[in-house]
Assembly symmetry: C2
Homo-oligomer: 196 residues x 2
Amino acid sequence: MSVRQSLLAILDQGPCYGYQLRAEFERRTGGSWPLNVGQIYQTLERLERDGLVAKSDAASEGRAYYEITDAGREAVASWFSSPVMRGTAARDELAVKLAVAVTLPGVDVTGVIARERAAVRQLRDRLVTDARADAPRDAAELASALLGAARIAQLDAELRWLERAEELLAQASVPPLPLSTEVPKRGRPARAVATD
Amino acid sequence: MSVRQSLLAILDQGPCYGYQLRAEFERRTGGSWPLNVGQIYQTLERLERDGLVAKSDAASEGRAYYEITDAGREAVASWFSSPVMRGTAARDELAVKLAVAVTLPGVDVTGVIARERAAVRQLRDRLVTDARADAPRDAAELASALLGAARIAQLDAELRWLERAEELLAQASVPPLPLSTEVPKRGRPARAVATD
DNA sequence: ACAGCCATGTAACTTGTTACATGATTTT
DNA sequence: AAAATCATGTAACAAGTTACATGGCTGT
């Protein structure tokens, strides 16, 4: 929902047209997260469908301006006033991959961890090198610095976690789980223990 | 791609039918990431479309078994032998939200950070409390512990980053960016400097 | 005239996800 | 018979993303 909500928040500042929205978004995210222009129009179409924006009447010079609606303003306020949704599940690709790997027979988990770690460290080092140390001069530079710091922090966390995973794996050497051989009955299963 | 690849990796262990796949996946992810059964069949259909699995001939007792193909085995090997894809962009909802927030006039960034931080800390504390300290007895428990640790590590990173963001924001008090007023020309822009 | 960008829009696709229909099987 | 679960499958949708068609405008 990030793109959708971000575009809406920008439109909260005033009417915009497609190309302008892309420029504003990319300016405010420091060039990370580049957007295909088509995605802007797709998102605008969906925002309009949901009643959060509307095509402006005053279309100047062949540009299709969109303006936010009252419902859209509410959505922006709600976005900024409530924390980001975190589902109960951990939709972390790396974590799930490793979790599945340790349960499967025949997977070289140590190798998997080593490769992931090398990739993470390399990327992390590159980002740290590229990160400029001088203080941000405007809000866009500040935003850029924040995004960079977030990326690095996340990679650091992954590095530490991967090291911890290596430890756990070395200590608790547990047998992997083959496919469950027991074929359960098809109908309604018996009551767990008793009716009581 | 996690679900898709995980199911394929499980099928690499032997033919499975839909319900069985769900059980195997959830067993191996410790109940986090619960799957709607329909998603299993959707994913199987797409895997079959891509030639990575095939319907098994020996359909026993009305169960539709799927088995992995050679291409599927290659995909599994490739998944485990190469690190997870990390796009150039930082598709981090929280980070982008804050980045956009600091560039927009009229947003109470301090409040946003405070609320996000409170939510993260609360969730983190709950997870730490729920985390069992005893050593895992089988691979499923190890996987579960790994997933829990990954979640906590990620939340820790977010906490630290949010604190850093507060600092940066307090130090470098930069003015927010209003919408760009300059309307660029529509046609081809002039050459940057010179042909040389 | 032509290259090249601005600008809009549409079609299609990906993974993830839910809701629903349908039936078989088994316990109560 | 009714309830509950196993089991398969289909339809639809969300959000992100890309590719393409089409035209207008401007500098060379």
